[in-house]
């Protein structure tokens, strides 16, 4: 099972973490003992250091990628934790089922989707991934295996959902799928020019559209004079023919030494995205609707050797207009604006995990090319706005938040610590727990 020492990278950061690699192929394996430094690794789509374990051991879960059972009558699906959502979709969509919640990339593992309690465009109605999780097996470094669900080991269930892979290793999990008639999505898009309008559109779409999210041009600092596109959609009714999924595009075969997304192109790119003629209504295949970036293999390499950061925050609805306006104002002001900025109103579902990120409020995700100290200062500035608003920063996308920022956004971290496997750790966890070491 040992594969020696390997380099592991996350999605946003160019620097590799060296870890001892273990790649189990069968569920009955035993965890390696490594003095408290073991971390499961899925497909490396977390952006920062939450999936990395420099100097420790990594359980590379992609070898555990089997289906265990799929009831095509009830839509209950059990899989090993290393199976990709992409593989699940390939199996379930032709048989009339869909993921109950999907993040913006289908190249994450089932285990990773649980460990980060991922959310999607349907959070306002469906909550996050954890809300559709029926049960899973948790393997701890003491060798015990627990079945966890809302009824059995409920406390371990809550700690592991959004638990960043630190409560033990999820070997398999069972989820409840949602029925669909096929791969077609009915889509609508509408332009908006201020934040209030975005909130209005979100409220108006709340009941009638299962999927909503907005793209905004982050180069425009005035929340009353924005450029945004509000996307909403539903699974199409029976008999709707879906267009074919677009062919994948080749991405950069290696990381270029410099960024292909220099600040010069950010403004025209944003303008063109906004101004590009679009039909107000259409039928799309689910792939371009949910996963536009998945079409370009290794798109993260476009940011060059320095890589990029993501800054995703959530702020309470009551202060959303001011806080989101302030965040966009700061990014636009620095001229190192974000190429792809996404806004979404979260629903009122109570988070199921102790460390779940999705919670009632408005979330804003920003890409920030790494320009060294300038970028770090900008993000620290953004953090201050989020903290004042009583919000939180998404650990799956973070590579640099201050321990205090993490603790304020995730006040149950101490309770979580009692569930963390003493044999497990990650680069992220050591960083945000720094003062405790």
């Amino acid at each position: 099972m040992t594969e020696g020492t390997r380099q592991y990278r996350s999605w946003g950061r160019p620097d590799a973490a060296l870890s001892r690699a273990f790649r189990p192929r069968w569920r009955d394996f035993e965890l390696p003992g490594d003095e408290g430094r073991v971390l499961p690794f899925g497909n490396g789509r977390s952006y920062g250091d939450s999936c990395l374990n420099p100097g420790g051991s990594v359980i590379d879960m992609r070898g555990l990628d089997r289906f265990i059972s799929f009831d095509t009558e009830t839509g209950v699906l059990a899989c090993e934790a290393g199976v990709l959502l992409d593989e699940i979709l390939r199996v379930i969509v032709p048989r009339g089922w869909f993921l109950p919640v999907t993040p913006g990339t289908r190249f994450v593992t089932l285990g990773g989707a649980i460990a980060n309690d991922v959310h999607g465009k349907n959070h306002h109605l469906a909550g996050s991934f954890g809300h559709h999780l029926r049960r899973f097996e948790l393997l701890r470094s003491d060798g015990t295996r627990r079945i966890c669900s809302a009824d059995e080991n409920a406390d371990w269930f809550a700690a592991t959902i959004g638990g960043l892979g630190l409560t033990g290793l999820i070997t398999w999990a069972e989820i409840a799928l949602k029925p669909v008639h096929g791969p077609a999505i009915e889509t609508e898009v509408e332009q908006f020019t201020d934040l209030d309008r975005f909130l209005e559109l979100s409220d108006a779409a709340h009941d009638d559209f299962e999927y909503t999210a907005a793209w905004i041009d982050s180069t425009r600092p005035d929340p009353g004079d924005m450029r945004g596109l509000f996307f909403r959609g539903n699974h199409a009714p029976a008999g709707t023919p879906a267009p074919a999924a677009p062919r994948p595009l080749p991405g950069p075969p290696f990381t270029p030494p410099f960024s292909m997304v220099p600040s010069l192109v950010v403004r025209p790119f944003n303008f063109l995205t906004y101004a590009k003629p679009r039909a107000p209504r259409g039928i799309a295949h689910y792939e371009p609707f949910f996963y536009p970036l998945d079409r370009v293999a290794n798109w993260n390499r476009l940011f060059g050797r320095r890589g990029f950061f993501q800054h995703q925050s959530v702020v309470p609805r009551a202060v959303a207009r001011e806080a989101v306006g302030a965040l966009i104002g700061k990014v636009a002001g620095t001229n190192s604006g974000s190429t792809l900025s996404v806004l979404k109103v979260f629903g009122d579902a109570t988070p199921r995990g102790l460390l779940s990120f999705p919670r009632p409020g408005v979330t804003l995700a920003l890409d920030i090319p790494d320009r060294g100290a300038r970028s770090l200062e900008l993000m620290a500035d953004l953090d201050r706005v989020v903290m004042e608003a009583g919000g939180a920063i998404y650990p799956a996308k973070d590579a640099r938040m201050d321990p205090a920022v993490f603790r304020q956004g995730f006040p149950r971290w101490q309770e979580f610590e009692t569930y963390r496997d003493p044999g497990f750790s990650s680069g992220f966890w050591r960083r945000v727990m720094e003062e405790n070491l």
């Binding site: 192929r25 089997r66 289906f67 265990i68 059972s69 799929f70």
Partner: protein, 245 residues
């Protein structure tokens, strides 16, 4: 509906190929050494769309067990359309050099067990005048090399056997496919440092699946190994014997 027999079903390459057969709705009969592993694979392949899955625990070095296994396969999924033979080990060359029994044992696993099974399969397929027999050998069989000639010799034996069998069965409309993988990143090769030449089992499986279902006699996977082996075979012997490969 296609009935597929897979021997050595728990190997990474066989498993990746089996998934492609499952997605097509084939009936699959899996043979391997550990029943509990085969059960895991059956569950997976069934969920992926296999019309039917069944398994049979057998160490292929138990030649006596071959006949019963083939009977069980026919009983459970019906006459075999595709026989895909993928079992094998990667011998420790150094250890074999000091151990006659180990060398013979490895030869038994990697050559004789396959030849024993092929003898039965050839007659069966010839009688039915249909089907495809596909066998995984290795680029290592193309020329003996200091670093792994026990393995290479065993694979070369199977290669030659298949070459003759292909001529014989051609008349009966039975296809024989020789599959020669290069370096594939699997548990069998876990101990190696992986460089540019290494391929993933998924990519290898797609090419194997295409050769089995669409056509091809001797395929190298990935394809560039045909060129590499052409070069290695064409090195003059007086030079070849003096280099380290």
């Amino acid at each position: 509906m296609t009935n597929v027999l897979i021997v050595g079903a728990a190997s990474a390459i066989a498993e990746a190929t089996a998934r492609l057969f499952a997605e097509e709705g084939c009936r699959l009969f899996l043979v391997g050494r550990r029943a509990e592993r085969l059960a895991v694979l059956c569950d997976d392949l069934k969920s992926r769309g296999a019309e039917q899955t069944a398994s049979h625990e057998l160490d292929m070095n138990d030649f006596e067990g071959h006949e019963a296994m083939l009977a069980a396969a026919e009983n459970s999924i019906g006459p075999i359309d595709i026989a895909y033979i993928a079992h094998g080990t990667l011998p420790d060359q150094k250890a074999c050099q000091d151990d006659v029994d180990l060398t013979l044992q490895e030869f038994r696993t990697n050559a004789l067990s396959t030849i024993a099974l092929l003898t039965r399969l050839a007659n069966d397929f010839e009688r039915r005048r249909t089907g495809t027999i596909a066998v995984i050998t290795s680029v290592a069989g193309d020329r003996g090399r200091e670093s792994n000639y026990v393995y290479g010799a065993a694979k070369a034996a199977v290669d030659s056997y298949l070459e003759g069998m292909r001529q014989r069965l051609h008349k009966s409309g039975v296809r024989v496919v020789t599959i020669k993988p290069g370096f594939v990143d699997t548990p069998m090769t876990a101990a190696f440092d992986k460089g540019l030449l290494w391929a993933k089992p998924d990519a290898v499986a797609q090419r194997i699946h295409r050769a089995i279902t669409k056509g091809g006699d001797v395929i190298y996977v990935p394809a560039f190994w045909r060129l590499i082996m052409l070069v290695i075979r064409s090195i003059p012997r007086r030079i070849f014997k003096a280099i380290k490969l």
